[in-house]
C-alpha cells in the first residue's frame, strides 16, 4: 500500500462522486473501466464478484467502492475510496438541504411537495419494475415477489422475516 495508491483512489472515486446521478449503479461502467482497465486494481472476474458481495451485503450497493479500495490498498484503501465516493455528493446534498430549508412554509415549496409526490409514486413503481426485471428470475421468483408484495402490504409481518425466508429459498435453490 502506498500514498500514491491512496491518492489515485481519491482522484478516481472523488471524480465519479459528483457525476453519479441516479445512484451509484449509474457510474458502474466508468468505475469498471477505471478500476480494471486503467488502474489494474482488480480483475474482471473480481469486479463481478465484489459487485455481488456489495449487492448482497446490507447497506448501499455503492459500498462496492470500499471493496475496490480494499483490493488496491487494504483497509485504509477501503476507507479512502468510500470517503472519496460519498464525500463530494454528500456535501452537495447538505448544501442543497440548507438552501431548500429556507423555502420551508413558502407556497411554492408546498406546491413542490404536493405536486411531486404523485410523480414519485410512479417512480417507485418504475424502480420496483427495474428490480424485478434485473433479478431475471423464473416463475418461482415472480411468485415470491408477488407473495412478498401482498404480505408486506396487507399484513403487519416483519419485512425482515419475509426477506430472510426468501433468501433461504434462494439458498435452497428454489428461487
Amino acid at each position: 500500500m502506498s500514498a500514491g495508491t491512496l491518492l489515485r483512489l481519491t482522484i478516481v472515486f472523488g471524480s465519479l462522486s459528483l457525476v453519479s446521478f441516479g445512484g451509484g449503479n449509474a457510474v458502474l461502467p466508468a468505475m469498471h473501466h477505471d478500476a480494471v482497465s486503467v488502474q489494474h486494481w482488480l480483475t474482471d472476474r473480481e469486479f463481478a464478484d465484489v459487485f455481488t458481495i456489495a449487492q448482497a451485503a446490507p447497506g448501499a450497493s455503492s459500498l462496492i467502492v470500499g471493496l475496490i479500495g480494499l483490493r488496491a490498498a487494504g483497509v485504509a484503501g477501503a476507507l479512502v475510496a468510500t470517503i472519496a465516493m460519498l464525500g463530494p455528493s454528500c456535501v452537495l446534498m447538505f448544501a442543497g438541504c440548507r438552501a431548500w430549508d429556507r423555502f420551508r412554509d413558502t407556497n411554492w415549496r408546498i406546491a413542490f411537495e404536493r405536486g411531486l409526490a404523485p410523480v414519485t409514486v410512479g417512480l417507485v413503481f418504475a424502480s420496483g419494475l427495474t428490480v424485478v426485471r434485473a433479478a431475471d428470475h423464473g416463475p418461482a421468483g415472480y411468485a415470491v415477489t408477488a407473495l412478498a408484495t401482498v404480505l408486506l402490504t396487507r399484513t403487519a409481518v416483519n419485512p425482515l422475516l419475509v426477506v430472510a425466508a426468501s433468501a433461504l429459498l434462494g439458498l435452497a435453490g428454489l428461487v
Partner: protein, 180 residues
Amino acid sequence: MSDGVGLPTLAFAFLKVALASFGGGLSAWSRRVLVEERRWMADDEFLSALTLCRLLPGPNQVNMAVYAGTRLRGLAGALAALAGLVLVPLAIVVVLGIAYFRYHHVPALDALLRGAVAAAAGMTLSMGVKVLGPVVREPVALGLAAAAFVTVGLLHWPLVAVVAVVGAAGMLWAWSREAP
C-alpha cells in the same frame, strides 16, 4: 420542529435501515422507519425528498440520510445519520471482502442474494401500494403517477427530463388547488 431527536437515535434509525435492507429495498425501508415508525416526516415530504435525492448525484439513500439528518439536527444530524447508514455496512463489506480476496470465491452469497432480491422487489412494490392511497383519489395525481411510471419504467426516458416536465405539471396542479 423535531428538536428532541437525539443524534444516537438518528444514527440507530439509519443503521436499522441499512441492516434491514439486505438484498435491496432501501427506500422502502427508509420510508418505513422515517414515516411509519419514527414519524419524523409525512409521506408528502418523504416522497418529494426521495425525488430530490434521486435528482442530485450520489446514492439515493445516502442522500436521504443527509436530508433527514440535516432537517432534524443540522450538520451534526447529517453526520450522525450518515455514520449510522454507512459505518457498520462498510465494516461488514470489508470483512466479506477480506475473506473473498483470500479464498477467491463467493460462497453461497449468489444464491442467498437471488432469493433476497425477489422479496426486496416485493418490499419496493408494497411501498408503492402504501403511498398510492392519496393518489388514487385524485384523477390528476393518478395521471401524473402513471405518466412517470410509463416514461421512466417502460420507455426508459431520462429521469431528469421526466421530473422536469411531469414534476412541473404536478407543481402547477398543486399550486392551482392551493390557491384561494
